[in-house]
């Protein structure tokens, strides 16, 4: 069985973890309602996609599977 030979300081572990970073999601503006939205997704605010298409998404729920 592998066993640690030396004590591992708090700083050593913390220094390694300085590279764990969160990236901010890439947010774009909806071309219809100008609210922030995620790219390549139907706008959650107005249900539009690519400027024109109306998706009666959240409100009039399409059949689930």
């Amino acid at each position: 069985m592998p066993l640690p030979k030396r004590r591992h300081s708090k700083a050593r572990g913390r220094k390694r973890r300085t590279h764990w970073k969160l990236a901010a999601p890439n947010v774009t503006e909806c071309s219809h309602c100008h609210q922030p939205k995620l790219p390549h997704r139907v706008c959650p605010h107005c249900g539009y996609y690519n400027n024109k298409e109306v998706i009666p998404a959240e409100a009039s729920k399409p059949a689930k599977t």
Binding site: R41, V42, E53, I55, P56, A57, S60, P62, A63, T65
Partner: protein, 164 residues
């Protein structure tokens, strides 16, 4: 290596997967659009395309092949007489998958799958818009009720303002 793995297994055994996709394609043909996870939505496309191709072929053998999946004579009739003719000018790719965002409970990516029929999108501007507006108006009362009961106050007023 994932060479040659064409079938998305969706964490299911074959019989379970095929039953699920059959159920989904029945819903899709019945309702024209369905909401599901992105993985299932993408797995559904070839199943739907295959059935619509049977519909365009239109002979008895094709009807029986379609019935094997749909298990509903009325739906086979609808596929062959109403849905398939609308795809006469299109060779494959009869569906569209639009990503909606993530589900609250488990963070799964959700999508909308729709048949590229009826309800003209993009092309035929004026007629399409009128048709859409009419449909929206008919749906509105339901939407408002749902929103009021669920979220009341915060989101509802904005949405109402925008839709009108």
């Amino acid at each position: 290596m994932r060479h040659g793995d064409k079938v998305k297994k969706l964490s299911r055994i074959k019989s379970h997967r095929e039953a699920m996709l059959a159920n989904m394609v029945i819903s899709l043909l019945t309702h024209r659009m369905i909401k599901t996870t992105t993985s299932k939505a993408k797995a559904l496309r070839p199943v739907a395309d295959r059935l619509i191709t049977f519909g365009k072929k239109g002979d008895l053998a094709a009807k029986r092949e379609a019935y094997r999946v749909l298990r509903d004579h009325n739906l086979v009739k609808k596929l062959f007489e109403e849905i398939a003719p609308q795809f006469a000018s299109r060779n494959g790719g009869y569906t569209r998958v639009l990503r909606l965002g993530t589900r609250l409970g488990d963070g799964a990516s959700l999508s909308l799958v729709e048949l590229l029929t009826a309800k003209p999108v993009v092309e035929k501007d004026k007629k399409g818009k009128k048709a859409k507006i009419k449909e929206e108006e008919t749906k509105k009362p339901k939407e408002e009720k749902a929103e009021k009961t669920e979220v009341s106050g915060i989101i509802a007023p904005e949405k109402l303002a925008k839709k009108e």
